[in-house]
C-alpha cells in the first residue's frame, strides 16, 4: 500500500463548548504502514488532538474502540481502512448517551451485564484442587467466554435501543448463557428466574443484527435461543 489521503466525516460533540453535535469533514494522509481505521484515527489525532475516542490493545481483544463505521458497528482496530467507502462516516455507537465525540456512556450496557450475576456460583466447600470438568463440558463454553464486552451487538439491537433499561441485550444474555452452560455453576434456577420476564429475555425478536456485527464472530442469538429452550424444558 502506498501513501494516500482518506476523507472522513466524524461526529463531533464537546459538551464543554458545543450546543449540539455536528459532522466534521477532515482528511488525513496515511503512511504505507497504516492499515487499520485505528491507525488513521491516531494520525488524525496527531493533526487535531481534540478528537476523542477510546482505544487500548489495537489488536481486537480489549473491546475499547467500538464505533459506528459507515453505518455498521465494529472495532476500529480490526477494520481495514482501504475498502471503506469515502468519506468514512464515523459515529458513536447508537442508542447510548454520547459523552463526547466517539465516546459513549456505557453505564446502561454494563448495568445489564452485571444484572445477570456474571460470576460462577458454586456453594460447595472449595476442594483442595481444581473442580473437574470434562473436555466435552468445557467445549460448551466456547463461543461464549470469548466476549470482549465491546457492545457492538447490543447497540445494534433495536430491542436494546427501545428498552436499554429493561432488555438485557445480546451481550448480557450471551454472558448469562456462559454461566448456565458451565457444569460447575449451581445457580441455574436463579439465573432462569432472573430472566423470566416479558422484557429481560423475551424482547429478543431474533433480528440477528447482533450476530452480524460481532467482531469476535460470536452468536448471541443462538445463546438466547438456548436460554429460551432451557426455560421451556424447565416449565414441562
Amino acid at each position: 500500500m502506498s501513501k494516500r489521503t482518506i476523507q472522513f466525516s466524524i461526529y463531533r460533540y464537546d459538551p464543554d463548548k458545543d450546543d449540539a453535535p455536528y459532522m466534521q469533514d477532515i482528511s488525513v494522509e496515511l503512511e504505507p504502514t497504516d492499515r487499520k481505521l485505528l491507525d488513521a484515527l491516531t494520525k488524525l489525532k496527531a493533526k487535531d488532538d481534540t478528537i476523542a475516542y477510546r482505544r487500548s490493545c489495537r489488536e481486537g481483544v480489549c473491546g475499547s474502540d467500538a464505533m459506528n463505521i459507515n453505518g455498521k458497528n465494529g472495532l476500529a482496530c480490526l477494520t481495514d481502512i482501504d475498502g471503506l467507502k469515502q468519506p468514512v462516516v464515523l459515529r458513536p455507537l447508537p442508542g447510548l448517551p454520547v459523552i463526547r465525540d466517539l465516546i459513549v456512556d456505557m453505564t446502561q450496557f454494563f448495568k445489564q451485564y452485571h444484572s445477570i450475576k456474571p460470576y460462577l456460583v458454586n456453594n460447595d466447600p472449595a476442594p483442595e484442587r481444581e473442580r473437574l470438568q470434562s473436555p466435552e463440558d468445557r467445549e460448551e463454553l466456547n463461543g461464549l467466554y470469548e466476549c470482549i464486552l465491546c457492545a457492538c451487538c447490543s447497540t445494534s439491537c433495536p430491542s436494546f435501543w427501545w428498552n436499554p433499561d429493561k432488555f438485557v441485550g445480546p451481550a448480557g444474555l450471551l454472558a448469562a448463557y456462559r454461566f448456565l452452560a458451565d457444569t460447575r455453576d449451581q445457580a441455574t434456577n436463579e439465573r432462569l428466574d432472573n430472566l423470566e420476564d416479558p422484557y429481560r429475555l423475551f424482547r429478543c425478536h431474533t433480528i440477528m443484527n447482533c450476530v452480524d456485527v460481532c467482531p469476535k464472530g460470536l452468536n448471541p442469538t443462538q445463546a438466547i435461543g438456548k436460554i429460551k429452550d432451557m426455560m421451556v424444558r424447565r416449565a414441562v
Binding site: D49, A52, Y53, R58, I148, L149
Partner: protein
C-alpha cells in the same frame, strides 16, 4: 482551590490481573477499598496474554515447584532474588487452583483436570527436559483470567472507579504513602484519594519503544508517579524483546514460522543470517537473531521508506504447508500487515515485550527502598504488584508464563500484606499540606502553555530514540549518545502543549500526562543500561562480549547486583545485592547459562 477528598482504607491503582487479584483480598476482608483504572477492568492489557500461566500442578507428568524455581533462577541469569522466586513457585498451585474456583474456563485434560502445555525454559528435574507446566485456556489465557478475576470482584462487591487516571503519589513528611491524586476522565475533576494503604498495579511501560507488543495504555504511570515521589526504579535496563513482531503493529509472529523454513531478508533480499550464524542461520537463538536484525537496520539495510524493518519470507513454501501449519500467522499477516504471506514476505522487527524491572518490593508486595544502612526498608502504606513491581522474580530475563503467575502471587501477597497492616494499624495519617498541588500544577501548565512541544512528535522522538539506542543489542557509544538524547527529549516532555482545553474526556491531556510518565521510564532504562557494563539476560552490549573469563559477557564479580535508579537525586544509581538465599531450600549456585 479546594479539592474533594475521598477516604478509603485502601486504594488500588490498576485493574489488570495484579490489581484485581489484590482487590479480592481486600474486598473479601471487608475493607473499604477503591480500585482505580484508566479503562474498564477487562480492557487492561492482561487480556492480551496468550500462552498460559505457570504452575507445577503435574497434571500430565511429574513436576515440582523446586524444578520451577531452578528454571526461573536460570532464566533470570541469576539476577532474580531467590527468596521471591521460591515464594512464587511454591504459591503457584494454590493461586491457579483458586482461579479455577473463580470460574476461569481452563482447557481440560481427558480426566477433567487443568490442561498444561510445555513452554520455553520450563524443564523437569533441574533442567533435564521440557515439562508441561503452562496452564492454558486455548491461546486466550489472559482474556479468560482477567474476566474471571473481574467477575470474582463483582461478586465481592469491589468498588471501582472506572476511567479514572491516578496522577501523583502523596507522601507525608516521614515518607509514608497516604494516597494518590486522580482525575475523573469524563469530567476532568481532580480528587484526592486518602488511604491507609496504596497498592500500585499499573502494568508495564512497553510504549517507551517504537515497536511494542503492548497496548496504548501501557505507559508506566505507576513508575512515573513513584519516580516523581522519590521512589527508586529497579533494574529497568532489562527489557525482553521478541525477534518477530509485525512492523508498525507490534503483534507477535511465532518462532514456528522460521521453524517451517522462513527466511529473514534485508533490503537487498539477502539472507543475512548466513553471515551472523553460518550453521543455525535463521534458527539461531532469539538474542542472536534480534541482534542481527538490529544491526542490519542500523547499518541502513532495513526495508521500506524509512529502512526500518526486515522481511520474513515464506513465499518459497508450499501454500498447503502454510495453510496447515501456520493458519493463524497468515491471519495476523493479513489483518496487521496487509500481506498474504503465501504471496509476499512479512515486515517484522524485534519487538519490545516486557519490563523485568519496576518498583522495588519484597515478596510480601511491600515497597522497599534504601534508608540509611538498610537497602530494603519498607515504605509505610505502599505496595506494588504485577508488571509495575519488581519483587525481583524475573531478574535479567523472564520465562514465558511467569508473568501471569507473578501477578497472581504478588497481587495476592500485596493484598494480604495490606490487610495485615491495616488490621494492625491506626487511623489515616494526615494528608500533607498542598497534597494535590503537584498534580494541579502539572495540569494547569498543560492547559496554559503556548508554543510548547507537540505530544505526538515528542512521543515519537522518545520511542525512536529508545529503539535506536537501547534496543535489542546495545553498543557502549550508542548508549552514551542515547543518554544525551533522552535527556534532551525529557526537557520537551516537560514542556508539552495541547490544543484541547475541554474538561470533558480530554484525551489530549491524558496522553500528555502519560508521556510525562513514559519519559521517566525511558530515562531510567537508558541511564541504567549505559551504567551496566556487562551483558546479562536481555541486556547485551558489544563491549561486554563472550570471553573465557566472562562467558556470555556476564561478570558476576562486579555486576551480580540490582540497579536502583533515583531520578530525583540527580539520576543517581545505587546498587543492591541480589538475594541468593531462598526461604527454605539451598541456594541455586551460579552457573553459565546455556540451553
Amino acid at each position: 482551590m479546594s479539592i474533594p477528598v475521598l477516604k478509603f482504607d485502601a486504594v488500588i491503582v490498576g485493574a489488570g490481573g495484579a490489581g484485581l487479584r489484590s482487590a479480592i483480598q481486600l474486598s473479601e476482608a471487608g475493607l473499604k477499598t477503591a480500585v482505580l483504572s484508566k479503562v474498564f477492568p477487562t480492557r487492561s492489557h492482561t487480556v492480551a496474554a496468550q500462552g498460559g500461566v505457570a504452575a507445577s500442578l503435574g497434571n500430565s507428568e511429574e513436576d515440582h515447584w523446586h524444578w520451577h524455581m531452578y528454571d526461573t533462577i536460570k532464566g533470570s541469569d541469576w539476577l532474580g532474588d531467590q527468596d521471591s522466586i521460591e515464594y512464587m513457585c511454591k504459591a503457584a498451585n494454590e493461586v491457579v487452583v483458586e482461579l479455577e474456583h473463580y470460574g476461569m474456563p481452563f482447557d481440560r485434560t481427558d480426566n477433567g483436570k487443568i490442561y498444561q502445555r510445555p513452554f520455553g525454559g520450563h524443564m523437569s528435574n533441574f533442567g533435564e527436559k521440557p515439562v508441561r507446566r503452562s496452564c492454558a485456556a486455548a491461546d486466550r489465557t489472559g482474556h479468560a483470567m482477567l474476566h474471571a478475576l473481574y467477575q470474582r470482584n463483582v461478586k465481592a462487591n469491589t468498588q471501582f472507579f472506572v476511567e479514572w487516571m491516578a496522577l501523583d503519589l502523596i507522601r507525608d513528611a516521614e515518607g509514608a504513602v497516604v494516597g494518590v491524586t486522580a482525575m475523573e476522565m469524563e469530567t476532568g475533576q481532580v480528587v484526592i484519594f486518602h488511604s491507609r494503604a496504596t497498592i500500585f498495579a499499573t502494568g508495564g511501560a512497553g510504549r517507551i519503544f517504537n515497536s511494542s507488543t503492548n497496548a496504548f495504555i501501557n505507559t508506566g504511570d505507576g513508575l512515573g508517579m513513584a519516580a516523581r515521589a522519590g521512589i527508586p526504579l529497579e533494574d529497568l535496563e532489562f527489557w525482553q524483546f521478541h525477534p518477530t513482531g509485525v512492523a508498525g503493529a507490534g503483534v507477535l509472529i511465532t518462532e514456528g514460522v522460521r521453524g517451517e523454513g522462513g527466511i529473514l531478508r534485508n533490503s537487498s533480499k539477502e539472507r543475512f543470517m548466513e553471515r551472523y550464524a553460518p550453521n543455525a542461520k535463521d534458527l539461531a537463538s532469539r538474542d542472536v537473531v534480534s541482534r542481527a536484525m538490529a544491526t542490519e537496520i542500523k547499518e541502513g539495510r532495513g526495508c521500506g521508506v524509512n529502512k526500518d524493518y526486515i522481511l520474513l519470507d515464506i513465499t518459497h513454501l508450499d501454500p498447503a504447508t502454510i495453510m496447515k501449519r501456520l493458519p493463524g500467522i497468515r491471519e495476523i499477516g493479513i489483518q496487521f500487515a496487509g500481506v498474504d504471506c503465501i504471496k509476499e514476505p512479512l515486515p517484522v522487527v524485534p519487538t519490545a515485550h516486557y519490563q523485568m524491572g519496576g518498583i522495588p518490593t519484597n515478596y510480601t508486595g511491600r515497597v522497599v527502598v534504601p534508608k540509611g544502612d538498610d537497602l530494603a526498608s519498607v515504605v509505610p502504606g505502599f505496595y506494588a504488584a504485577g508488571e509495575c513491581g519488581c519483587a525481583s522474580v524475573h531478574g535479567a530475563n523472564r520465562l514465558g508464563t511467569n508473568s501471569l503467575l507473578d501477578l497472581l502471587v504478588f497481587g495476592k501477597s500485596a493484598g494480604d500484606s495490606a490487610v495485615e497492616d491495616l488490621k494492625a494499624g491506626k487511623a489515616h495519617r494526615e494528608l500533607p499540606q498542598g497534597a494535590a498541588e503537584q498534580s494541579l500544577a502539572r495540569i494547569s501548565a498543560l492547559d496554559n502553555r503556548k508554543g510548547g512541544a507537540n505530544v505526538y512528535e515528542t512521543g515519537l522522538a522518545m520511542r525512536r530514540c529508545m529503539q535506536d539506542h537501547a534496543g535489542v543489542f546495545r553498543f557502549g557509544d550508542m548508549l552514551k549518545k542515547g543518554v544525551d538524547k533522552i535527556l534532551e527529549i525529557e526537557k520537551a516532555a516537560h514542556e508539552l502543549e495541547i490544543k484541547d482545553k475541554s474538561m470533558a474526556w480530554n484525551t489530549a491531556r491524558t496522553e500528555a500526562l502519560e508521556l510525562e510518565n513514559l519519559i521517566e521510564v525511558a530515562k531510567a532504562t537508558m541511564i541504567s543500561a549505559e551504567a551496566r557494563k556487562e551483558s546479562r539476560g536481555a541486556h547485551v552490549r558489544d563491549d561486554a562480549p563472550d570471553t573465557p573469563e566472562f562467558p556470555n559477557g556476564r561478570n558476576d564479580k562486579e555486576w551480580l547486583k540490582h540497579t536502583l535508579f533515583f531520578p530525583q537525586e540527580g539520576n543517581k544509581i545505587v546498587y543492591k545485592p541480589v538475594n541468593m538465599k531462598p526461604l527454605s531450600v539451598e541456594t541455586i549456585e551460579l552457573k553459565t547459562r546455556s540451553y
